[in-house]
């Protein structure tokens, strides 16, 4: 570190390397949130980010002048409200824009268009099935009850069930007794639904409510996001539930665009962290976490710089945290083993478009409002399940599922007037292709996605000014998310809660003293939630208080 301004000279340790109270490796949203909380408590905190901008999987980039692309993640829902308030994010520009609608072409030229008025939604469902009309209300109520039942567990650190913390973590987070008491208070039927969702398939769960294939298909779409499951696979229920855990403006499961995209959100986080006194250094890739006598002493950067701190928090995924940043031999074999067998099989890609105008859906030629939120291209459960088939055998879907969004419709600053940006989250695109590789397949894959869009929006191709294909390999290369898994570890029951990322290290500490983890590979998991960053900060502060 050269040219240290006066005032931060106290950050130099005895050996001349900079000294901080805490160093956070990785400036994704969790790293920034973690750093903001630590700095808020007075810790001299440094964030080291490899890329030239913060945000990780939540960035916005201008790929074409005037067009802002949400390169990877594109919508906000799960962010915990506590974080908004505790970190004073509104002051720094936090602004979630409501998605006024959700649009689901039914594959036969018709559509399901849902909005903010429950009664009108019921009528819209009823247009397709009279029976599904009242099921729609029951479905949402039952799901909301499940969300409420699991929310307290989602919103607190996992208890130390296996005693892996020793005495060090005593008093951090709720204990098993609290969990037992909470679950004991959940109604029997709701508890049964919890288990059905956590272990079963989305399609089994949906079958109890909906008869119409497109109505069920619409509700199934969130059951496969980022996961190597089809809606008929056991485990897809868990993914569906996870995506309903959001509480945007008090509405369960409702989604928003952050102003300026999810990259706009991580810029807000960076400002908040800096306002609390954290320092953010860009283009500073960390190659190793330094240790001495069984505890952390700092980090080494790619350029050879060594920075000292008694606390190092990895905001990367578990593979990098446990197998790359530290010598796995510093870790107990059990944890190393758990992380090695953790599943990261990325199956998601992005195809982002700059468009010369809005696409046309033939049944709604003159309106715009169906473009206000998600455009859900995956008409039925069967369509999506068939899209999944290819992934099982190492290939991408010939007719993929697409979750598209045209943020520029509600946020005109994303594109020049009259032009648009369309983000398409596309599945399935397995990280490992059999018999080819992503460099070879990139454009053909893009064509495949575009062909599906053309099917639903005839003339789509004529609008395309620019196309960006982001494969799972690109996701991994640019964010560090292993195998391009968007959640830093799949959402499988044995990889959640007490077991995320390992039953021996699920409480943000690691077996190496002073080394912590705050990425999406910890509870509650991936998505733009912020809880991993927040809980890990609580853990660090808890430990410092016990053992200053």
């Amino acid at each position: 570190m050269t040219d240290t301004p006066t005032g931060s000279s106290d950050r130099r340790g005895a050996d001349g390397a900079a000294a901080y109270d805490a160093i956070v490796v990785g400036g994704g949203h969790n790293g920034l949130i973690n750093a903001a909380y630590l700095a808020k408590e007075g810790l001299r905190t440094l964030v080291l980010e490899r890329n030239p901008l913060v945000g990780g999987a939540a960035i916005t980039e201008e790929c074409l002048p005037g067009f802002s692309f949400t390169t990877f993640s594109y919508a906000l829902s799960l962010l915990r409200p506590e974080i908004i308030h505790e970190l004073d994010l509104v002051r720094h520009g936090f602004m979630p824009l409501m998605m006024p609608s959700s649009f689901h072409p039914t594959g036969d030229g018709d559509y399901l268009l849902l909005g903010d008025d429950h009664d009108q939604n019921v009528q819209e469902v009823r247009r397709h099935s009279r029976r599904d009309a009242d099921a729609y209300s029951r479905y949402h109520h039952d799901l909301d009850r499940v969300v409420q039942a699991v929310r307290p567990l989602f919103d607190s650190a996992p208890p130390d069930v296996f005693g892996s913390d020793g005495t060090a973590g005593a008093g951090f987070g709720p204990d098993l007794e609290w969990v037992r008491k909470h679950l004991g208070g959940v109604e029997r039927r709701v508890m049964h639904d919890v288990v059905r969702l956590l272990t079963g398939s989305a399609s089994d769960w949906l079958e109890d409510y909906f008869e119409h294939p497109a109505v069920a298909g619409y509700h199934a779409s969130s059951s496969i996001i980022g996961s190597k499951v089809g809606p008929m696979s056991p485990g897809s229920g868990l993914v569906l539930l996870f995506h309903k855990m959001g509480e945007h403006d008090g509405h369960l499961g409702s989604w928003a665009f952050h102003k300026g995209g999810n990259g706009g959100f991580t810029q807000v986080l960076a400002r908040a962290a800096q306002a609390f006194g954290a320092e953010v250094r860009l283009e500073a890739p960390v190659t190793a976490v330094l240790t001495a006598a069984g505890r952390v002493t700092g980090v080494a950067l790619e350029d050879g710089t060594e920075l000292r701190a008694p606390v190092v928090v990895s905001a990367l995924d578990p593979r990098r945290t446990f197998l790359e940043l530290v010598d796995p031999r510093e870790m107990p074999g059990e944890v190393v083993d758990d992380v090695r067998r953790m599943k990261f099989r990325g199956v998601s890609a992005k195809v982002n478009f700059a468009l010369d105008g809005l696409p046309t859906f033939p049944a709604l030629p003159d309106t715009v409002d169906h473009f206000g939120g998600f455009l859900n291209i995956g008409p039925t459960v069967e369509y999506v399940e068939r899209a999944f088939d290819a992934a099982k055998y190492g290939w991408y879907s010939e007719r993929p599922f697409i979750d598209a969004a045209v943020q520029s419709v509600v946020d005109p600053d994303m594109a020049p007037p009259g032009k648009h940006v369309m983000s398409c989250f596309v599945q399935y695109a397995p990280y490992q292709l059999r018999g080819s590789d992503w460099d070879t397949e990139r454009q053909r894959f893009g064509d495949t996605a575009q062909a599906v869009l053309e099917e639903h929006f005839p003339g789509f191709g004529d609008l395309v000014l620019h196309r960006e294909v982001v494969t799972p390999v690109d996701i991994e290369a640019r964010t560090g998310l292993t195998e391009g898994n968007i959640f830093a570890g799949e959402f499988l029951a044995p990889q959640m809660y007490l077991f995320r990322p390992s039953p021996a290290a699920s409480r943000y500490a690691t077996p190496l003293a002073g080394y912590y983890q705050c990425g999406s590979g910890t509870h509650p998991g991936g998505c733009v939630i912020g809880s991993p960053g927040r809980f890990a900060a609580q853990r660090v502060l808890h430990d410092l208080r016990r053992d200053p």
Binding site: Q120, Q148, D249
Partner: protein, 403 residues
Amino acid sequence: MIRTTPFHERLSELNTQGLYTHWQGFLSPLRYTHAPKHEYFAVRNSVGVFDTSPLFKYRLTGPDSSRLLEGALTRDIRRCAPGQAQYTLWCDDGGFVMEDGVVFRHGEEEFLLTAARPNLAWFADLAQGLAVDLEDVSDDFGVLAVQGPRSRQVLEALAPEVGALGYFEHTSAKVASSAVTLSRTGYTGDVGYELTVPAADALDVLDAVLEAGQGHGLRPFGEEALMVLRIEAGLPLIDVEWTNSRLAWSDAERVTPTELGMGWMLRGVPEGDRAFVGRDALRREAEQRSSRWTTVGIVVDWQHWDRLHREAGLLPAKEAHPLPYESALYDAAAGGTQVGYMTSFTYSPVLQRHIGLARVRPDLAQAGTELHVETVVNHTNTTVRAHTARLPLFNPPRKTARP
């Protein structure tokens, strides 16, 4: 018979809901779409259009028109030059607020005054013996509010003059070949403009604005969105925040300008020489510090709000639907005595908090004072913690920024 505004024909085509309320005898949309919050975000993030034509409008001309307003209005009209506008109040002899409005000065001897309720007789009585021509021109004009961060860009395409307007300035301009008044005014607390348009040209002007707004996320917004916007902006509403003192039954219903949070309008009144209706009472109030209330913003403690609801097994509601009734405010002491009342309350999407407009005892008005707000959870009266805050609660620099 309910009336419609000059913009109604076109705006009603854009209304997919058929939901209207009545505003001074006119149809006024509650919302245009299923999602009033989306309309709200047009104003906070792009541009929204609101039909504010039902306002009453009075033209004053003649050599004594300034004198009339000097003596009638609470704010000093002499500080308003041609090309400027003032938000103002008028009071009764007791110094209680009757109404509010915006006065546009078009020339030394020419004004246009807007008002929420009819006021012709009151001003005409005051004009006796003065050389003023006072005319009710309410039906001659439509007024279209174009509000939000993109409003300037949209209107500049129609009338470049808009670019030079400072906060509360106005100019005449040609839009769609109609002679309109363009003013940098509004009721949303954001950067925004109003177009005062001859009624016969209303549809042409509206069409031009809608056209210019394409690609900028422009959409019409209704009263539901407006209410959230104006609460965030700290803008009071007659018959919600106060009652016209001439129509009130008791002083408890009445407020003075200071009590309404408009004490700033009285700058220069104690020492000045301007005689106006209510002056003596207002001077006395200032001298004796006899104001009963101070208007403040209320920000609800989010943690307490969430906890109250969760412990009752409910999802903490965060609805941007202003409450249609008043609630009591208590001090923070156990058992709490009532120290004020909240007149407006809503969830604010941009502030991510429940907020309100309230009047509290002046000794509790300091920003940050803890209070308890009356609320109902599971059919049971309870209170939620809150604190007072300076108004306006939402006040982006762009609102008043020089062009």
